[in-house]
Amino acid sequence: MTEKPKGPDPTMNNNEAVAGAKPRSGGLDRQVQAKIGQQLRAMYDEVVDQGVPDRFVDLLKKLDGAQSTPKSEEESR
């Protein structure tokens, strides 16, 4: 096992890009990833927080009613 990879160091081939103040790895990337994760969850939770639209409450009642006797469907209205 070697301690360091002997292959070309990608950062060595991209000195200009690195000097361009937009490193592709390291702290900034982790920050970006954390931010994206946070935004993904926030985006998702925003919909979750809307709860169950009436459309689906009615649908589930109807679907369940359709499985049981027609009488219970009447009662649920």
Binding site: K22, L28, D29, Q31, V32, Q33, K35, I36, G37, Q39, L40, R41, A42, M43, Y44, D45, E46, V47, V48, D49, Q50, G51, V52, P53, R55, F56, V57, L59, L60, L63, D64, Q67, S68, S72
Partner: protein
């Protein structure tokens, strides 16, 4: 046979998560709600095939995911026949996406291959483990891990790093746009 009330209650409690998943997958509220409706109809019709004690949420997500995949393939064929650009047609329907917040993030998600998108949403937003996500998608755990990684990297590239503080709820985006308009 009637579904027992406790099971119905459980299904009902998962509906908001199903919607969030469907909207994330399709980028369109109306399509997503249709997808949720189909999922619920299938679930109730096939409730006997659900094994009590197993994860109801994963079961419902699997049904929805499979519905989306088959519909997605069908629609893509139809739209590609029409104009050749499925993704473009999705993001250019402002009246249907107007209700959605996080526009930039959603637009970036739309650009991901669907297998990467679903993996990222399941693990990064729905909170499933890699193992659960793999079961939902019917693939190996390692496959899910690499899809999630690729999706994250691609999103980071897609969403300009410089504007990372800006992307998010639309009120921020709108405020930023309004400010730049005034200049």
């Amino acid at each position: 046979m009637t579904t027992d009330p406790a099971t119905l209650q459980t299904i009902m409690s998962i509906v908001p998560k199903l919607r969030a998943f469907a909207i994330s997958l399709s980028g369109n509220v109306d399509r997503a709600d249709d997808l949720v409706q189909e999922t619920l109809m299938r679930a109730i019709a096939n409730i006997d095939s659900f094994e009590p004690g197993t994860n109801m949420q994963a079961w419902l997500f699997t049904i929805l995911r499979n519905r989306f995949r088959s519909e997605y393939r069908k629609r893509r064929r139809e739209v590609e026949d029409a104009d050749g650009h499925y993704t473009d047609s999705l993001v250019s329907q402002p009246e249907q996406t107007a209700k959605l917040e996080y526009k930039e993030l959603r637009a970036a998600l739309e650009k991901l291959p669907s297998d990467q998108r679903e993996a990222l949403i399941l693990v990064g937003a729905s909170g499933f483990s890699y193992e659960e996500a793999a079961a939902i998608c019917g693939c190996a755990v390692g496959t899910i891990k690499s899809r999630v990684n690729r999706a994250r990297n691609r999103l980071a590239t897609e969403l300009d790093v410089k504007s990372i503080e800006d992307f998010g709820p639309d009120r921020n985006t709108r405020a930023a746009l309004a400010a730049s308009d005034r200049r």
